[in-house]
């Protein structure tokens, strides 16, 4: 780790707390605008977590793509579909909610048990590395750039095609019908 330890200790507890509260806020808040803003808070906290994990480029990409595009799109959709007369015919808590909460809590508890019981640093990963090339790469974005343009070049091109198709499809679906 090339981050000083004080940053870890100062940032870790508030980040964890705001992640927990933000996640609860996305699911449990009844006003959906508050829920969308709480999702923005969760995305910011995850981005700060990436900085703690030495992934600078992924943190900035997270801010740009998720908060700058996806969250804004969600807020747009919420404002376009805001129904002032809220249909109160739905019961606030059904049997399905209880079953789902039991299942999700048991999933979370089993994951915690698995995570805490594995000796993580007993795993030895042997990988052949290109020692000559990788000695000169110092920061995260250089490493990502090298592997993205050599090993992962085909997924990179395919993802640009996927983005193009997704944008054309979204515009076609959401376009207002033209009445002649």
């Amino acid at each position: 780790m090339n981050r000083p330890e004080q940053i870890y200790d100062i940032l870790l507890a508030p980040l964890t707390l705001s992640l927990i509260l933000g996640g609860l806020g996305v699911v449990l808040l009844t006003n959906i605008i508050y829920s969308a803003l709480s999702l923005g808070l969760v995305l910011i906290c995850i981005s700060l977590f990436y900085i703690l994990l030495n992934a600078d480029f992924v943190a900035v990409a997270q801010i740009l793509i998720y908060i700058g595009a996806v969250n804004i799109l969600i807020i747009f959709a919420v404002m376009l579909m805001n129904n002032p007369k809220y249909p109160n015919s739905a019961p606030p808590w059904t049997v399905g909610d209880s079953i789902t909460s039991i299942v999700c809590t048991s999933l979370f508890c089993s994951l915690i048990t698995i995570i805490l019981n594995i000796s993580w640093f007993g795993i030895s990963l042997t990988q052949k590395s290109d020692q000559i090339l990788e000695r000169d790469l110092t920061n995260n974005i250089q490493r990502i750039g090298v592997h993205l343009s050599t090993d992962f070049f085909l997924p990179f091109e395919l993802i640009s095609i996927i983005l193009l198709v997704a944008l054309i499809g979204a515009i076609t679906i959401a376009r207002r019908e033209e009445t002649v």
Partner: protein, 100 residues
């Protein structure tokens, strides 16, 4: 640090699954799907930092997942908008459009 981040990823995953299954509003379901994808990204970046500092393969894969999630959010919201325009309601449990 590793276990801390993994437990946070597991928490976001479970609360995203709960929100996705039980939400009655369609946009809230899409927001919980974004939570799930972010939990997966957090896991990937954590493992890439702990075990793979030379070739950051986990970071690269998380960038791909982010791009796919953005495309899927755009299409999902376009579909939700089209449905809302036709049905004037966002209650996801009253729709039977895919029912055969």
């Amino acid at each position: 640090m590793l276990e801390h981040a993994l437990i946070l990823g597991a928490y976001l995953l479970s609360i995203g699954i709960y929100g996705l299954v039980t939400s009655r509003n369609m946009v809230r379901a899409l927001m919980c799907l974004e939570l799930i994808l972010n939990a997966v990204n957090l896991n990937l970046v954590t493992f890439s930092d702990s075990f793979d500092s030379r070739q950051v393969k986990g970071d690269i894969f998380s960038i791909f997942i982010t791009a796919i999630a953005a495309a899927e959010a755009a299409i999902g919201l376009a579909i939700v908008l089209a449905i809302y325009r036709n049905r004037k309601s966002t209650r996801i449990d009253q729709f039977n459009l895919s029912k055969w």
